[in-house]
Subunit: 251 residues, 2 copies
Amino acid sequence: MPGPKNVAISNRQLAALPQKDYQQLLAYLKPVELEFGDILYEAGDQIRYVYFPEDCLVSLLTAVDANRAAEVGLVGSEGMIGVPVALGIFVSPFLAVVQGAGTALRMKTVDFRREFGKSAALQGALFRFTHLLMIQVAQTAACNRFHVVTQRLARWLLMTRDRVHANEFLLTQEFLGRMLGVRRVGVTAAASALQKLKLISYSRGNITIIDPAGLEAAACGCYETVNSLYAKAKRSGSKSDSRLKITISKK
Amino acid sequence: MPGPKNVAISNRQLAALPQKDYQQLLAYLKPVELEFGDILYEAGDQIRYVYFPEDCLVSLLTAVDANRAAEVGLVGSEGMIGVPVALGIFVSPFLAVVQGAGTALRMKTVDFRREFGKSAALQGALFRFTHLLMIQVAQTAACNRFHVVTQRLARWLLMTRDRVHANEFLLTQEFLGRMLGVRRVGVTAAASALQKLKLISYSRGNITIIDPAGLEAAACGCYETVNSLYAKAKRSGSKSDSRLKITISKK
DNA sequence: AGTTGTATGTACGGTTCCGCACATAAGTAC
DNA sequence: GTACTTATGTGCGGAACCGTACATACAACT
């Protein structure tokens, strides 16, 4: 049963915790300012901290070679960065890079892992989020296979919008190209198309979503597919079919 | 510490368990014959059973609409089908379809979930596998974005080879097209190219890998990237940085 | 006002893959 | 052998996107 609502807590994973479990974590959570472009982990890095975004946005990328990488996941205040730790893995498989500046609460991995063993609510929440992330990554795989740049761009803008809770954000086409794994001019063309349809406007990195509903229509169904699952998870909050109690055995 | 090697156990998740934990599961595990094309779950289905493949091969697919889906994961005797259950989720996000006939040991989800709560070794093994699956799905996302059909086909054949432990298998180009998310003729062209290079041979669904090393060279790096992580996980066996004890609270 | 740097737009030939239609070939049934 | 089904091969116009190069536009600084 969740405790009283922690209204001041902007990270949803933390907000969903019972008061007691949250208080327990609080001693270890330190706010950090994350800047655009900050790298939280390179692929293969030790995960020294886990992060609970408050109003920042973090992209997870998988590389295929030195020059080419594609975003496979996008995490904001609804989730956590460092999901592998919940699975007992302490090496990041992804490049995690800050895509929207803001604050996050972070915690040393060792502290988190210990507290994780004590809080069934935290376990449930993070296992569910891990599952959602898996779905998001898988949908991205299928989306990359079938959908054209314009649709993928529209989807990406909507996903970003959902996570920063704003219709305006700062992103160059060069950057968008890196996320979507296309040339900059590919983004130029797609963005121009969306602008001509009066769904977005942009100039020198400043992107504004003018018509969210129209943009959703221009996006592929992958947006709605994943989004509805996130929304469902949000509604069901900390309720779960599974209640686990995990303890880490000493040594 | 794992118990004596269970040499007769062909599923690696089960084989890695301590003798005691394995014996505990044995009462619930029933062998089933899986035929080509069998659907274990549709996307959105309740997960009524989890499956431990012995010599069969199962594809996980994500759909983007009624006609189009792409494979995002491939699971053989090294893994388990029904990973979400380990995360406390009992609905499959993927279509799970048998791609190579054979046997699997299966278990009712409710039984599995209960036993899962009792065996730290089982938890560790499955959490690690969940993580590997996440990596595989993510690599597929990036691969779909950047690599051409011939490379992806080569990668797919190698992945299949690793999982069925054979250089020969039965698969039509029509089927391969569905897995890779391309037209049949796209597969025809790619397969012809690989055959001309004397890396494979095929006729009417019968594919033989002639030159595994050459095929690997023709595949994209995604194969080696993921494969090395699987190999590493295999080597480290049931050793883990994390030892957890999970118990399911009553009600 | 002029300079510099960054962001965006345009152009072009080449490649990959699409959708579709039709042709061949290998196995299966009668 | 003939008919039928299944698997594979070929052809063709078009769309999307690539790599590259070059042009324009806005912003900030001097």
